[in-house]
Structure formats: C-alpha cells, structure tokens
C-alpha cells in the first residue's frame, strides 16, 4: 500500500462494499474504531465482515473477540453471509477469543481484579496467527459480567492503550439505547473516542431503514451524514454511498434512438447516449409502450437492453409488446434483451437497488429501462425513496448508458409525482405524457419538457396508440393548461391574440 504523504492518518481499506467510499478509503489504520448501534443494527455482522473481507481480499488474518455470542453461534450465523469461518480457522486466518458467558458456571466476585487475562489472550492469539485485524464484539456486554464496573472501565482504558501499541486495526462494537442520543451505553466511547461509526435501524413510516454514519475519524477525512445500507445474504453489509459516488461521467454528444422516429425528432435527433430520461404520465397513457419502443429500438440496432419491470409480470409485458408489434422474446433469443420482473413489495428499497445494480453490472447493457420507478415508491419511506432515486440515477450515469425511467403521476390528468420531484434535477431529459380532455373526448399529448444540452421541440403533440406502437401527430393548438391537468380550449381569436403578443 502506498503512503500518501498528504494524509496524516493512513487508512485501511475494509473491503465492506460501499463503506470505504463513505469512509474515504477505509478506517484509520493501526487504530481502534468504535462501531455503535442499537440492538439489531447489524453490529456483529459488521465486525465479522471486517475480518472476513480482510481475509478474502488480502489474506489478512484476524482475531474475533466475542463477549456475547458463542463462537459456535457466530460460525453458524455468518455462514449465511457466505463466510466459512471454520475453514479460515483451520487455515489460521481467523481465531476466536471466546469470552462469552458460561451461564452454567457460577461466578463469584470478591475483591479487586483486572482484565489482564483478556489482554494476554488477545495478544497471544494475535501473535500466533500474525493478526492484522481485530474485531471485539461487543464492549457493552462486558459490563454486565462484573459487579464492579469502575474496575471494568479502567481496565478497558488499559486494553485500548495496549491495542494501540500492538499496531493492529481494531473494530470494537458497542450498544446504544437510542437511535439518536448518546454515542454508547456506559460511556465506553471515551476509550476509543478517536474514531466512531454509528449504525442505525430506524423505524420510519412503518418501515425499517438502516443507515451508517461516520461520526468522526481523528485526523482523517470521511463523508458526513447518514448513508443507507442493507444486509444481504452471501454478502453482508452493503453501504449505498449515494452522493459519495463521484460523478465523473463524460458528457457524450453521441445520440441513440428512443425507438420512435417522431420522438427522436422532437428530441433533436434522439436521446444522448449517456443521459437519463424521465417519462412521466398517468396510468395507461403509454409509458410502458415508450419503454418497449426504447428497448426494441436498442435491440434492433444490436444493443444490449435491460428492462427492469415493477408493474407487470413477464407474461403481461411480452403480451402487451406483441400488441404493439414488438417481439421481446425474439430479442431475448438473440441475447440482446434481459427482462427482470419483480414485485415491489418483495424486498426493501435498498435490496431492490442492489439487485438493479447487480443486474447492470452483470448484463452490461447498452441501455436500461425501469418501469416504473414510482411502483417502488411505496416500498420505502420518503427519505429512503429519495436516496434510492439519487443512487440509482448516479449509478446508471456512471455506466454512461441511457436510462429510461418511467413515473406514474398520482392523478389521471397529470400533476407532479414524488418521483418527479426527486428525479427532475438529475435527469437530463423529461418527457411528459398527458391525457387531454378536449370537447368531451380523451386524447393524449406528449411533450419534451427538458432536454439538457440540446434543442428540442416545445410543442405538446397529440399521439395515438395502435398495433404498430405510438404515433406522434400534430401539436395541440388552441389548448392551454394541458400540463397542469386542466386543459382549456381557447377560441381561435384568443389564440391568435396571444400568439401575436409574443411575436417579435
């Protein structure tokens, strides 16, 4: 690892996905970092993962000091994360220092004592396997073991300074009673106050939302604020770095087809190759059709297309597409299309996000469509959804592929959706699909509201849908208020008069 002279404190890459981004390179190397969280906040997983990633990525041996759970329990529980601790123990890459309680043995306390044995055992185990990482889980549990907590307190001080001398990188977990309050119970944070990470598991809008926050790293930088994370089987903690993702995408002038010739024309020659497109409209007005044309237009040019669908089943999608003259199955056979359908409620937002990212990473599409983003709105809390949108958008941008996202408006006649509110500033192109009531008849209108870096048509044009797909026709004339959902028909004279007002 190269020493950066500008950084006073060297960092150790933990290997925990996403975490090293928000920690700006990992946790301070050779120091102790406190990880504090309430019950069920995934502290033990984090601690175990700290060792597991060290072993998997660098072959760095680690010591796991357990005050609470037995090694048997930890071995078993972590197997579901895909970490075979027993195997690592055989290879001397992992060693337990088991200080879990033995309820079957009576313990009597009389007079002064110290925790010298604990320190000796840690040092012994560390020297045996050449440990580079130590995880201690969890500090608070040791207080409940002894009546004389003032001794425990001073002994933990001694432990902390001894660990510092050892020069290994240590993660110590500890409990807290509230999500927002003092850092930890028993005031243990004072022992390792240099570096503190908080794990939260907050109930928000009746939904659990996990977040991680680097509270402080003494002498080292980190991202501030809470970042969502999830715990995945076969992977463990996955942090979603959101804004920490560097937006280094190059702006491309290359255009790709929207799959609809007229829409391409409205956009001044198609979508930009690395742009995000938001298509917003009421239910049934043709968003899925737009998605299908977008996908088919890509596949017809030999592009790899990924369709992530959250509103309809695969069968429905394929049937609908056939109704518009689009053969999804053909594209799939050519290996150019992958359709992933998921029921929004089947997972949490973070899990959906990670799955979407994984699909993109694995399939490596040239274009991706999500239909609809709004369907996922109900899975998470408001904050969680906002973060989800931003994270997904940054991820797609990062891959420099066009992404078409659809959003369903709350009312039939239009109006803004939450998706729009969060999405509009990060999307490059916004297309509105609207029902237009005119003279007792329902018609449909499409307009390109925004197109970053390009000229585009400003008209609201009428379109119709038949077995060949979407047909964009002439602009609506003499109608105002389409976008607000309250169209009004203007008389010819009034339209002329208003037109004249803005003439040069």
């Amino acid at each position: 690892m190269s020493e950066d002279q500008k950084t006073p404190v060297e960092k150790l890459v933990t290997g925990i996905e996403g975490f090293d981004l928000i920690a700006q390179g990992g946790i301070p190397k050779g120091r102790t970092t406190l990880v504090s969280g309430t019950a069920g906040s995934a502290k033990t997983v984090f601690a175990a993962q700290f060792l597991a990633e060290g072993i998997r990525k660098d072959g760095a041996p680690g010591i796991f000091v357990t005050f609470e759970e037995t090694p048997e329990d930890i071995r078993k529980n972590m197997l579901s994360m895909g970490w075979s601790i027993a195997e690592w123990e055989e290879q001397s890459l992992w060693r337990f220092v088991d200080t879990s309680p033995h309820p079957e043995i009576d313990v009597i306390e009389t007079g002064e004592f110290d925790l010298g044995a604990l320190l000796v055992r840690i040092e012994y185990a560390a020297s045996q396997i050449g440990a580079q990482r130590i995880a201690i889980d969890s500090l608070g549990a040791i207080f409940s073991r002894f009546a004389n907590t003032s001794i425990v307190r001073s002994e933990l001080h001694r432990l902390a300074s001894a660990l510092k001398v050892m020069g290994v990188t240590v993660v110590i977990t500890t409990e807290r009673t509230q999500e927002y309050g003092e850092i930890a119970r028993f005031g243990v944070e004072e022992f390792v106050a240099d570096n503190v990470i908080i794990l939260r598991n907050v109930l928000e809008d009746e939904k659990r939302r996990r977040t991680i926050e680097v509270l402080k790293f003494r002498g080292a930088g980190h991202q501030k604020g809470e970042y969502p994370f999830t715990v995945l089987p076969d992977q463990g903690v996955v942090v979603i770095p959101l804004s920490a993702i560097e937006l280094k995408q190059r702006s491309s002038q290359a255009r790709v087809t929207s799959g609809n010739v007229e829409l391409d024309r409205m956009c001044g020659g198609g979508f930009f190759r690395d742009s995000l497109i938001l298509a917003s409209g009421a239910t049934g007005c043709g968003k899925t059709l737009m998605t299908a044309e977008f996908i088919s237009g890509g596949a017809d040019n030999g592009e790899r297309c990924l369709l992530l669908a959250y509103e309809e089943s695969r069968e429905q999608l394929i049937r609908n597409a056939i109704g518009w003259g689009i053969d999804f199955e053909k594209h799939e056979r050519q290996g150019l299309l992958r359709v992933v359908c998921a029921y929004p409620e089947s997972a949490g937002l973070e899990d959906h996000l990670i799955r979407m990212k994984r699909e993109i990473d694995q399939f490596k599409p040239d274009r991706v469509a999500v239909d609809s983003v709004t369907a996922l709105e109900r899975v998470g809390s408001r904050n969680g959804f906002r973060e989800f949108i931003i994270s997904l958008a940054s991820f797609v941008k990062h891959h420099e592929i066009p992404g078409l996202f659809t959003a369903t408006t709350a009312t039939l006649m239009g109006g803004p959706s939450i998706t729009e509110a969060h999405f509009s500033s990060i999307t490059d192109t916004i297309i509105l699909l609207r029902y237009v009531e005119m003279l007792g008849e329902m018609r449909r209108g499409i307009t390109v509201l925004k197109m970053r870096g390009s000229k585009h048509e400003k008209d609201i044009r009428e379109y119709s849908i038949d077995e060949h797909g979407m047909h964009i026709g002439k602009p609506f004339r003499n109608v105002v208020g389409i976008l607000s959902g309250k169209p009004e028909y203007l008389s010819r004279e009034e339209a002329d008069r208003m037109g004249n007002m803005f003439q040069d």
């Binding site: 220092v97 088991d98 200080t99 033995h102 079957e104 043995i105 009576d106 313990v107 009597i108 306390e109 009389t110 007079g111 002064e112 004592f113 110290d114 925790l115 010298g116 044995a117 604990l118 320190l119 000796v120 055992r121 040092e123 012994y124 185990a125 040791i142 073991r145 002894f146």
Partner: protein
C-alpha cells in the same frame, strides 16, 4: 467421588503483581484454615502459559477455579472477602452471604 472430598483449586494470575500475591496469600490462608490438608492448589501464571487461559476462557485475573469437587465454581478477585470465597467453595451455605 466417594472417597474423602479433595479440593482441586486452580488460581490464574497475570504476572506476580501485588494483587496476584495478595490472592495467593488469601487462598493459602483459607486452605490452611478451612480445608485442612484435603486440597491441591495450583497457581497458573497466564503470562507464561497463555494457552491455559485460552483453554479455560479466563477473562479476569485473579480467577480461582474450583475444579473439584463439583459443582464447578469460579471466584474472581483477590479473594479478600473470605466469607464469599467460602460460599464459593461450598463451605458456607449460600443464604449466609
């Protein structure tokens, strides 16, 4: 264990500190006064034999383990409270503590 009750006492210490010596002295006194000759006392310095601390999962020192007779008992501290130690060695009924 149908022969006469023999006590096997293991005292774990971390180095020969003042506290360790105090524990050893206290234990010797108790053994001499209350156990007669029916005991075997071992002092284990875990600085010298860390594996033994690992095997017994010792956390604090001094720790006195009453290995025999059953039940297994652990007494933590410098053993300065003789009554408590006697309770731990089942030489005093528990309700007297």
């Amino acid at each position: 264990m149908n022969e006469y009750q023999k006590y096997l006492l293991k005292l774990y210490i971390t180095g020969h500190t003042a506290r360790s010596e105090r524990a050893i002295k206290n234990l010797r006194n108790i053994c001499a006064e209350d156990l007669g000759g029916k005991y075997e006392m071992r002092v284990i310095d875990i600085l010298e034999r860390p594996q033994l601390a690992e095997d017994e999962k010792i956390l604090a020192t001094p720790t006195l383990i009453k290995a025999l007779p059953p039940p297994l008992r652990r007494i933590i501290g410098d053993l300065s409270d003789t009554e408590k130690v006697l309770v731990g060695l089942d030489l005093l009924p528990i309700d007297e503590k």
